[in-house]
Subunit: 152 residues, 2 copies
Amino acid sequence: MSIETDIKQKKFRSPYQKLALNLVYTTKWLEYKQLESFKEHDITPQQYNVLRILRGQQGNPIKVSDITERMLDKSSNTSRLVDKLLAKNLAKRTSCESDRRAVDVVITEEGLELLKVLDPFIEDWENRFNIISEAEAEQISALLDKLRENED
Amino acid sequence: MSIETDIKQKKFRSPYQKLALNLVYTTKWLEYKQLESFKEHDITPQQYNVLRILRGQQGNPIKVSDITERMLDKSSNTSRLVDKLLAKNLAKRTSCESDRRAVDVVITEEGLELLKVLDPFIEDWENRFNIISEAEAEQISALLDKLRENED
DNA sequence: ATACATTTAATGTAGAAACATTTATTGGCA
DNA sequence: TGCCAATAAATGTTTCTACATTAAATGTAT
């Protein structure tokens, strides 16, 4: 369905306004859809994001501040997110030898297993994007990168 | 900056995964940037969204449920959002004659004035999108619409 | 070495979001 | 008409977010 129909707005100030609204609307739509899979496993999108980053480390520990750097939402409180993962035995926390201010985090076996269960759902969602071509996907990505260049 | 650099991930499973992450990341970036303008005027993005919808009515009252239908985030609690606008004298609420369950909402002069102050900031943001062409913006919008077609 | 700014993580707090439930009204229909 | 499901909005509650503050460790300059 077109954004015009979805938010019942017939006209936009410019193609740029329309794109801005469409970006926000489509992302909320995507997050809402993915949320359904996450809820079943008692995990939030942000906790999932941290778990994915931990798995990407392939066994190597990673500091809390480095997790934040890699997150999609950099304003999130990584400390508390790690707390939640800890409480569910999805991650473990050890003090960092080289810098005693820092805290090293590693994913547990249980965390890896949860990701293995979630993987097919997420991949399924991503694959539905193939309603557009790979080239088109790459092109949108490139344009999004370009939009963000315009820093202030 | 490329999404690869921003979230420090070198490889993606597919262009579709990359696009999914880029959509979420770029929208968070955009929301965060706009938040700065909103905060100065003690308003949240969702309250702004409601105000814009109210202004779009051009003086005609609109029911709470119809506001929800037009919002970018349809899962939001419109009742409480309207409460906040009321408390700040940005909107008024009158009971609907034809259906006493419903509540009619109208923007106030003060609300219109606040939007007038915010307009240039928002337009400025949207105009920065002209780093890409109008045609490209339309094209991305069309592709985003296409992505959402894939309902479940 | 000491003082002071910086970095890292954790915590306190107010406000907002998410989700279910409640209350009032309406519409349909037996 | 009377009953019941459906709808509209408000409210209760728990959790999360945003933001500031704190506390400990480190780096740096004098």
